[in-house]
Subunit: 218 residues, 2 copies
């Protein structure tokens, strides 16, 4: 019984990682659609979102089943409820990849405003945070999780920097306003991806140490 | 034992409602700070956010304790995991109230751009959605929850309408750009509050009917 349960916990861990990889591919695809101005790819990424949603539903059902049948205690209980919550966070990251694609489709209808420099940097940074937060989850690594929480500041700084740059574009030439605002939205989506990574990391610290750090570190 | 457990479930329900009221007050306060250009109030609302955070932590701990000690099945199990997730959604709504206050503080440093008409409408509509989603939760009312999910479209429409209006401001007079963008951000925050209400409503349908409707209705 216990061995079977341990296997189910491993399966759950594996499913969360699979979901993480899929979500990462969604965000990377969205960025590629934006940078290469590839509307077909943007539409494909939007359609792919349902795969992430399906995994989210699966994780939820797996967790409920484990809670009902195994009635786990302490460490396992926290692992399962954390997995449920992480799945929600990942699903929201995928929604943001979809939002990036929606803005990319709009941006593709006009000439490119400027080469993208900060946006890919923000995306890479945010994705690394997501990846590290998931690594922290599967390895019960609270130190790595704490590092992710502090990484969030860098993304916020980049968002502000990019906003100031776009603002100067808009002031100089009102023709750029619509495009500049759409790019601002994209930077906000990336900022929110980093926020979700931070949420995951905070959940992991709680799972490992039984200590709630969310609401205290920001 | 069962009677004691029933009482604990009632306490949990009551705590979620209390959190809902607090979050509603936060959003209403943020709107008042914006409309009345009251920076002191904005700072007070930002400081109050910690009360919501404290309740979120409490709900989480209550739920984990109930899961560990009572090992509930079926209906009660779903009720408890749903409460955990709803608490997270409400906490995020309160974060958005804080974001509105941050933008209000920035807007208060410049003359008012225009009278607020759509913003209070969006706020009222979004808050009603949150309230109804919580009513649906405590009354196990899947019909009301489904209604909340469809209400979301109205907020999206208002956001687009307001964005077009602000865009024409910016095009006519670039001096308005910074303010118009801050107001656009506020409308996005209100849209996200409606999204959180929709998330809660979808969770309630699942709790009542055991059917996952999220990812299918949008």
């Amino acid at each position: 019984m216990q061995r079977h349960f341990d296997q189910e916990l491993l399966d759950l861990k594996e499913k969360i990682l699979r979901m993480g990889i899929l979500v990462e591919e969604q965000v990377q695809g969205a960025l590629r659609a934006l940078i290469e101005r590839d509307s077909d790819l943007a539409r494909k990424i939007i359609a792919n979102d349902r795969q992430v949603n399906a995994l989210d539903v699966e994780v939820d059902e797996d967790c409920l089943r484990l809670l009902a049948l195994q009635q786990p205690a302490a460490r396992d209980l926290r692992f399962i409820t954390t997995a449920m919550k992480i799945s929600t966070e990942l699903e929201r990251v995928s929604d943001l990849a979809e939002n990036i694609c929606e803005r990319a489709l709009e941006l593709n209808e006009e000439p490119q405003l400027k080469p993208y420099i900060d946006i890919p940097r923000m995306a890479n940074w945010s994705l690394r945070m997501v990846k590290e937060a998931l690594d922290a989850f599967v390895n019960h690594d609270a130190d790595l999780a704490r590092k992710v929480c502090t990484d969030d500041d860098f993304v916020d700084d980049l968002t502000h920097q990019l906003f100031r740059e776009l603002l100067s574009f808009m002031l100089e030439n009102p023709q750029t306003i619509t495009r500049a605002i759409r790019i601002t939205f994209i930077s906000k989506y990336l900022e929110r991806i980093a926020d979700h990574a931070t949420n995951v990391a905070e959940l992991v610290v709680y799972m490992v140490e039984g200590k709630i750090i969310r609401h205290t570190m920001s």
